[in-house]
Symmetry: C2
Subunit: 300 residues, 2 copies
């Protein structure tokens, strides 16, 4: 399996890159840096980082070595940004989750105040890390385009907008339109930014960017539908969080809206659409195709 | 008074710029955008924006019109970033303040969850706004240098680091070293970044940057000592927050450490040092000199 080799190859590089990008725990104030690293290093599937690298590699092909270091740096920035969203989402005033990635959530270990600050710091340092791309052979104009895209995806009309609507819809009956808004923004926007970002780093043409964008939108949808299915049928220990925690608090999901069977069909259909979107890149599209299959087939 | 004319001229421009930089309240999700605008527009002394503009004008002199629009944009970004720190600082898990700038704090109006998100969004959009400088005649490399400086100043080794140590020192007896760390980071780092940023926009030489940095460090100290004094002797309605709220929760201040008289002397001495640092820019250093006098002389 191409994806397995890809993960074996790149996940250690991502971890290394993250360790280097984050301030060390020995730097004052140590407890803040400990909190930042607790929720970022050695945790999670690294899906966003892998998507960024896979997109860059697919587009750059044999020129990938030229942008390899910069791609790792960008991938690490994306993972830092993602980690901040998880810390803030888990706060008692938000989704109030005590566990994340199989261990106590950040605020359970470090307290709410420091968890807010650790999230703030990860978000801020994400942009400091993005600026470093300019010292790694990426043209300044590309760094700026990439950073603008990431900030817009993460902002009030992206990830944070999705979380705000999710928060407001708690305990409410919501329709399909709002459900879709939440998912395309809360989760989808960052997937899109890392995939397009990887392609931008590789100097993709506007035609290629379009194809990657179409893939990204389908990928995001696959991911969310599968997440909703797993929340109902998943195995608690594998998922690392309380099963049914979303449905228990009256949150809208694809399963509650369409039923389990139709949700599964939808996930499969969308996965096929994702793969079709990047057909023209064959054969270097293998990893992204398998990543789409992977998110639909995963059990956690 | 030069400063008065300066404020009359620029504060309306800053407000206008902020209104244009923030997503409109009519944009979905409306309540999130309302929360973002509530804590940013029409509030505060705009000290950070004024410092950025004053530094840019002092350095650029008759070339200021060439960078005027970009300077407003940068000043607005700095005010957005500052507004996010205030929203998060006021949260119950942080300083737990119910009032800010003479009105109920963000979380009292919008709830804690949305207040966290509004702060997150202001921080994120700050960087989107920074990227716009590249479309306004500022060289891409300067935009990147400026953004790196802002992100580092706002990050875990800057503003957030200061707030983390402040949070950890609540109810503790702290020494002079820690008090200074808190102030130079929590408040001073952003002052320094906006002043140096304004100078960078104006194409300052390294010698000029050095002078502005020295001014910035003294200015930050003046500001904090005066803040501590006002917290003891200030008038509640003018300050817009509960007088003695910091000392009441056992926070270290310059007054508790040195006494009121010595604190007042320290503020005066530091103000003179700030003014001396930018002596060579005379006569275009008038506004920054009067700004240093203003923060020491203010009653709120």
């Amino acid at each position: 399996m191409v994806l397995e080799r890809f993960m074996d190859k790149y996940i250690p590089s991502i971890e290394n890159e993250l360790k280097g990008c984050l301030p060390p725990e020995t730097t004052y104030p140590e407890r803040l840096h400990e909190a930042m690293r607790y929720s970022t290093i050695g945790a999670g599937k690294r899906l966003r980082a892998l998507l960024a690298i896979a997109a860059a590699e697919m587009v750059a092909q044999d020129k990938f070595p030229l942008i390899e270091s910069a791609t790792y740096r960008f991938a690490a920035a994306a993972e830092m940004l993602h980690a901040y969203t998880l810390i803030h989402d888990d706060l008692p005033c938000m989704d109030d989750d005590d566990f994340r990635r199989g261990k106590p959530s950040n605020h359970k270990v470090f307290g709410e105040g420091l968890a807010v600050l650790a999230g703030d710091a990860l978000l801020t340092e994400t942009f400091a890390v993005m600026m470093q791309l300019a010292d790694m052979g990426i043209p300044a104009a590309t760094v700026i385009a990439l950073t603008k895209e990431l900030a817009m995806a993460a902002g009030s009309r992206g990830v944070i907008g999705g979380q705000a609507v999710d928060l407001a819809s708690e305990g409410q009956t919501i329709d399909h339109e709002i459900l879709e808004y939440i998912h395309t923004h809360k989760t989808g926007a960052l997937f899109k930014a890392v995939l397009r970002g990887g392609a931008l780093l590789a100097g993709a043409s506007s035609h290629e960017i379009e194809a990657v964008t179409e893939y990204a939108e389908c990928f995001g949808l696959c991911f969310q539908i599968t997440d909703d299915i797993l929340d109902v049928v998943g195995d608690e220990s594998k998922l690392g969080k309380r099963v049914g925690s979303d449905s228990g608090s009256d949150k809208a999901t694809y399963v509650s809206l369409y039923g389990l069977e139709r949700a599964r069909e939808l996930a499969e259909e969308t996965m096929e659409k994702a793969k079709a979107a990047i057909d023209a890149f064959a054969p270097t599209n293998r990893v992204l195709c398998e990543l789409a299959e992977y998110v639909v087939g995963r059990d956690h």
